[in-house]
């Protein structure tokens, strides 16, 4: 039971992002823009991620020089910056989406922002009052989202395709599609290899690629490419096209469960990395509590400030995703630098890391606003670096007195 529970937790933590509303939208839009190229890109991305995951989670052949070589210094900051900014901006955006889904599908008189705050509040309460059950709830939320999504996808794949031929007018390329495909696998670096299930990273990656391909096929069979490419709610359109109102309800449920699973997982991720980033200090309990509450309060502040009604939020979200892509690439390169210099293994890992790095550059350059995207990403990095330095310096004197 314990082993099954660990595997389920690992799997639920590997797909919290791909089942979230924003990932569903990315899948739909990319299916519309790139068609079959997107499916090929998904398979390529899965291969790249699998190789990277093997390098991260196989603790053998480590160099005696440790992790100080290569991108080691930048990596903790990049990773924490990515997790912090994704948690803040993606959570705020998705909570708004969940609020609208609840209001427009289930209870029209319940205010959408009220539901967004309610959902955030419930997650905070879970972490504060029942921390032992956080992983259990994660598994249930993921399972609920998956059931809703697979119901719609299954119905879409089993029913006759009804999509008329259409084109977006753009010539798709594998090069521009691959970065988005890689994006859907973000979070794989957190799939831990464990003694009970040494192949659990492979299971997680397989789940992500199979789900993404199935969803893409469902989109292409029922919605024309030009509508998909420009739609901000392709998943809801698909559900309505395939199953009518029951489909809308299932997909709205998926949005709500997927949002909750994402926020829950990201809060855990950030907390884990923030505490790891300050390893030399025995952090006081008040700091641990404060560090946990600060981020949800920041998310709530974003909601209250009306950021969800600004186009700026989308730029901030994509800057966060850019940082996450970058930190994945640096993680792979760092893993490569740790391997003993023994031929093909090390070269392969560096090649994979380079592919991820190039994908990050392409993602930036092909975005509609690359300069602000990069600017905000650099800002997040700088703010995180300053935050870490200030926290370390602020806490050390206090601890020295005690």
């Amino acid at each position: 039971m314990g082993q099954t529970s660990t595997l389920l937790t690992t799997l639920s933590l590997s797909c919290f992002w791909v089942l979230s509303p924003d990932a569903l939208i990315l899948n739909g839009q990319q299916t519309g823009r790139a068609g079959g190229y997107f499916l090929i890109a998904l398979l390529l991305a899965a291969f790249v991620i699998f190789l990277s995951s093997r390098a991260l989670h196989v603790p053998v052949r480590l160099s005696a020089t440790g992790t100080k070589k290569g991108p080691g210094r930048l990596l903790p900051i990049a990773r924490l910056a990515a997790y912090l900014s994704c948690t803040l901006f993606l959570s705020a955006g998705m909570l708004v989406s969940a609020g609208y889904s609840f209001n427009e599908t289930f209870v029209v008189w319940f205010p959408n922002f009220g539901f967004a705050f309610l959902l955030l509040g419930l997650i905070i309460l879970l972490h504060l009052a029942l921390p032992r059950y956080v992983n259990h709830v994660q598994v249930w939320l993921t399972a609920a989202a998956l059931v809703c999504l697979l119901s719609v996808i299954g119905a879409a794949l089993l029913s006759s395709p009804v999509t008329p031929e259409s084109s977006t007018g753009e010539a798709p390329t594998l090069l521009t599609t691959l970065p988005v495909a890689l994006l859907l696998f973000l979070g794989y670096e957190k799939q831990g290899r464990n003694d009970h299930h040494p192949s659990s990273p492979l299971w997680g990656i397989s789940l992500v690629v199979l789900f993404s391909i199935a969803l893409s096929l469902a989109f292409s069979r029922h919605l024309p490419a030009d509508r998909l490419a420009d739609s901000t709610i392709p998943h809801l359109r698909l559900a309505r096209a395939v199953m009518g109102d029951p489909g809308r309800m299932l997909m709205s449920g998926a949005v709500i469960f997927g949002t909750a699973a994402f926020v829950n997982a990201m809060l855990q991720l950030v907390r884990h990395h923030l505490l790891r980033a300050l390893p030399e200090l025995q952090l006081p309990r008040w700091f641990r509590g404060l560090s946990f509450l600060a981020l949800p309060l920041a998310i709530a502040s974003c909601l209250l400030s009306g950021l969800a009604g600004e186009l700026l939020l989308e730029t901030l979200i994509f800057s966060s995703l850019l940082l996450w892509l970058l930190s994945s690439a640096l993680t792979t390169l760092a893993a490569g630098s740790r391997l003993r210099p023994a031929g093909q293994g090390k070269v392969a890992v560096f090649a994979v890391g380079t592919v991820q790095l190039v994908a990050t550059v392409i993602f930036t350059l092909t975005h509609s606003t690359p300069v602000p995207l990069l600017g905000y990403a650099l800002l997040f990095l700088a703010v995180t670096a300053v935050l870490l330095v200030l926290l370390t310096r602020a806490l050390k004197p206090w601890l020295a007195l005690h």
Partner: protein, 87 residues
């Protein structure tokens, strides 16, 4: 609060060129529903960001204009009724 202020500012900017003195009236959804399809009615969706992009419900035939771009409506017909709606 900021969004409400922006909506109001946009409304003011669009209406002011159309007449020298005009009170901004509110319309109930029943009144709007009764007029849907009329050639003299222009519905303007001024929702922005995720208020618009994540909402599945959009009024058919509504013109979508960002709150900061409402000035473009100043060139529109002065004989029509403009109805602005937001989140």
């Amino acid at each position: 609060m900021k969004r409400v202020m922006l909506c109001l500012l946009g409304l003011l900017f669009a209406i002011a060129p159309l007449s020298t003195v005009m009170a901004v009236e509110l319309m109930t959804k029943e009144e709007l529903k009764a007029q849907l399809g009329s050639d003299d009615l222009v519905i303007v969706d001024v929702r922005a960001g995720r208020d618009w992009s994540t909402s599945e419900l959009k009024i058919k035939g509504a013109l979508r204009v960002e709150p900061g771009d409402l000035g473009q409506l100043a060139t529109g017909s002065k004989d029509k009724v403009y109805v602005f709606y937001c989140a």
